[in-house]
């Protein structure tokens, strides 16, 4: 589901719209969600043994036998009704998502409407680029082709063990309308279609998933668009504010609050206008530019509205991206996050591999409702995934693979330590950065924390920096959460803070802990260049390669998932 944003961009050369998927889990509370009705899962789940490839088998909860290359139903047999249990235990969204993903099942809402897998009814179209026409690099990217240096050297078709690699016509990747006759899962077909050079995928319906209200993203320089009001000529009858707003702090605080209120009124007016114009309220997201952790506007609106935020650029560093995205993804109202596949020409250039790494960090941090910025060249960004003729560039395949992989990373109830972020502190810090008119949001966006910017000021809040660093060093999952408490204290969920992997060297990994119906999972993302070692916490754990327990080495920016083995 999550991959739909990019994949739709790849399928629609005009890039005229943004599509997103449903969001991740529920904001990191430490309690179980309430039970609720809201629909039920109906239909007959297709037997996993009908699946002929490993991806389809796994999505259909089968057990892939790599020796005989077949899908075994015995372990993973599941009925549609099982998702009603999941919905009751973990929330309707969770149950619905699993139900819709399971081939043969459909979710019937209370109002009688039925939701099915969006890829069923979709179509894979185009012309597969034959192996013989591909040069070496592209050849090795193409499913079912391999470049051989043995004379006569060239790009040759291979007979892959995965049947989905070998199709020579795009139409073969079109999911069959009758699930009971399917031999591959629509999600797997969809992914393979997009990885096949020359093919594109068109979804059956063009439902609007997300509408972004406001100026951006991308607005990359200013954290709010009224910041030019610092210019004396733009202040009208307002009294001038002496830079750099300290000491005393009061004038600066008033100025930041004025900007924030102005922007908030503007966005809410736009929001209301969009609803009056018929836009579905659940699809709206309010654009807040710059670094969310440094934005009083994000803290004001994030409690009640979904925000549209941009993931920081690669220069913010793995930790900076992780902090911002964790904060955004776990805002009470949720957030739509824009990942960057390129950069505007006025920014320092970014290599495609580095943008991929940054996206990997953001996805591992829990970004579930996403758009890939610069998905096509129409954004006028350098490094778009589609070139001027709407042909996918080489790294488009890697993006598709990343999004497909990230779709398998666990989603559920976030566990760990929620660090409080007081809006008053953010306002005070912004007022006291001392570097106006350099925008604090921009500085925060390139990895400078507000507490760093304000560290020299007497009485500046420490921003919980020491606590954050100690948690990171211990490998405890944590994130920032808006809080208005006068005396904020971290919210430590019972038992979860001790669920830490052993990381060598300490603090070299970013950790997310997720509770889901099948048990507990840890998402571990390395944040340094050098290889690191991670070992699971006490108990029986299986990593995403299927290896039970044991340490695992991670090079930079790689992600590994450990699942607790409960039986």
């Amino acid at each position: 589901m999550r991959t739909r944003s990019l994949l739709l961009l790849l399928a629609l050369p005009a890039c005229s719209g943004t599509s997103t998927s449903s969001t991740t889990g529920d904001g990191g509370t430490a309690t179980m969600p309430d039970q609720s009705s809201g629909g039920r899962c109906t239909g007959t789940a297709v037997e996993p043994r009908r699946m002929t490839d490993i991806t389809s088998c796994q999505i259909q909860k089968g057990d892939w036998d790599s020796t005989y290359q077949e899908c075994d139903s015995k372990v993973g047999k599941q009925s549609c009704a099982d998702f009603d249990t999941s919905a009751a235990a973990y929330g309707v969204d969770f149950g619905k998502r699993g139900c819709i993903e399971m081939l043969g099942c459909a979710w019937t809402n209370d109002d009688g409407t039925v939701e099915k897998n969006a890829y069923v009814g979709g179509q894979c179209f185009g012309t597969v680029a034959p192996c013989s026409t591909l040069e070496q690099t592209r050849c090795n990217e193409q499913l079912g082709c391999k470049y051989t240096t043995v004379a006569p050297a060239g790009c040759k078709p291979t007979n892959s063990r995965n049947p989905l690699d070998n199709y020579t016509e795009c139409g073969n990747y079109t999911p069959t309308p009758d699930p009971s006759a399917a031999r591959a899962h629509p999600i797997a077909l969809h992914g393979s279609c997009l990885r096949k050079i020359g093919c594109s995928f068109r979804l059956a319906d063009g439902t609007v998933a997300r509408i972004i209200v406001g100026h951006g993203p991308p607005a990359v320089l200013r954290d709010d668009f009224f910041e030019f009001d610092h210019h004396p000529d733009a202040r009208g009858d307002d009294a001038p504010v002496s830079p750099p707003h300290h000491p005393p702090l009061d004038a600066g605080v008033a100025e930041v609050e004025r900007h924030c209120a102005h922007a908030e009124r503007f966005l809410l007016h736009l929001h209301d206008a969009a609803i009056r114009a018929g836009a579905p309220a659940e699809a709206l997201a309010l654009a807040v530019t710059g670094g969310a952790l440094a934005s009083p506007l994000a803290l004001s609106l994030g409690a009640s509205h979904r925000l549209a935020l941009s993931a920081p650029p690669t220069r913010a560093g793995a930790t900076g991206i992780w902090r911002e995205v964790r904060f955004a993804a776990l805002l009470p109202g949720g957030a739509h996050v824009s990942l960057r596949a390129g950069a505007p020409p006025f920014e320092p250039p970014t290599r495609a591999t580095h943008t991929l790494q940054a996206a990997r960090v953001a996805l591992a941090a829990g970004a579930g409702d996403i758009t890939v910025q610069a998905g096509c060249v129409g954004h006028h960004w350098i490094g778009a995934l589609l070139d001027e003729r709407a042909d996918p560039r080489a790294h488009a395949v890697r993006w598709a693979a990343l999004l497909l992989e990230a779709d398998t990373w666990p989603r559920g109830v976030e566990r760990g330590v929620a660090l409080p972020l007081r809006r008053a502190d953010v306002v005070a810090a912004r007022a006291a950065t001392g570097v106006h008119p350099l925008p604090a949001g921009l500085l925060a966006w390139v990895g400078m924390r507000l507490d760093e910017l304000t560290a020299a000021r007497d009485g500046a809040p420490d921003g919980g920096r020491a606590l954050e660093e100690s948690l990171a060093a211990k490998g405890v999952a944590h994130w920032w959460r808006p809080s208005d408490a006068d005396d904020p204290a971290p919210d430590v969920a019972d038992g979860w803070a001790s669920l830490t992997p052993a990381v060598t060297p300490p603090g070299a990994a970013l950790v997310r802990a997720v509770e889901q119906p099948r048990g507990r999972s840890l998402v571990i993302c390395s944040r340094v260049e050098a290889p690191i070692q991670v070992a699971p916490p006490p108990g029986r754990w299986r990593d995403d390669r299927g290896v039970v327990e044991g340490p695992r080495a991670l090079p930079g920016a790689e992600v590994v998932v450990w699942h607790e083995v409960t039986s």
Binding site: A316, P349, H354, I382, G383, D387, V397, V435, L438, G556
Partner: protein, 340 residues
Amino acid sequence: MRITGFDARSWHRLVTLVAPGFASHAPVASERGARAEGGALFVLYQETGVVRALHSLRGAVTLPGWEGPASLEACARALQTRFAVAAEVGALEELYERVGGRLDPKDGLAETALLVADAVRELAREGELHMVPSLNRSVPLPPPEVVQRAWDAVLPDGYCFTMALYEGVELETGFVARRRGGAVDLVLGPEALRRLTGPLGGDFRRDHRVIRAAVEREVAPLACGVFAPTATVRELLREEAAGAWARAIATRDVVVDPMPPWIAMAASAGAVRAVVSRSRRLFAGLEVLGLLGPFAAQATGVLAGLDLKGLLGFDPLDIIGVIVRRSESARRPSDDEHEP
């Protein structure tokens, strides 16, 4: 302006050619970046105290050795930083104020840039802004009319400029910039170039004819084309010795086709003059081979008519050289073999 035909790799190669400090960093390399040499330092100060010091790679930093703006260079050196700006509290606001008061919506890019540069120089002269290196002393600001005249000489209206840079047999990066209506309206990257030219042979000494023909056929008449291996151009930009460009052009390490008058400047007027007058010994062998003949003949003819250094008061390549050499510690963009 329309910029088209670049992928991330070709854009990265092109930009880091003249600004190596902008080299892309992986997110996991941020800690290494914080330890690395280079970057830029910004200091906001009030009298003798530092209000805030920000480093582009290390974030907020303390400056224990700060003793006022006179110590900016020492502080930058202590942080292994070669570019630094110190602004007195209120100087940035003052800069905005002055620029805002003088801007005219009708001004072009060159006029606007000159106006901003002029305001910066004023503040520097008044002691509110300090820079390392202090380019303002060596770079005079010519009036807009002179810049316009130089610009007209470099890229006349209706013409285009192209640069094609090779790595081995691959067209690695490059661009075609077209000027129309007084401004650059189109920049094409290597993807677009490849589409214009069709398959290339892989030798820039031969391909330049194909590229020139394609560009003139599809885009606009070519005012100047530069064709060379990327590594050669990078080395030439780092080269301090005069005559390096002339030598490279003479030995066809760099092919310039067509060769406009102002290229004589880029090839170092001093070196060319040396070739044709008193320093014949320097390029004697080349003369014998006839390699330099056409170039030298053309260059001597145009030097009397146009000398951009004389016109502008500074050598633009010198400025690029200062930036490139000072950024030498930045990672070279050669470690991207896994780039798609």
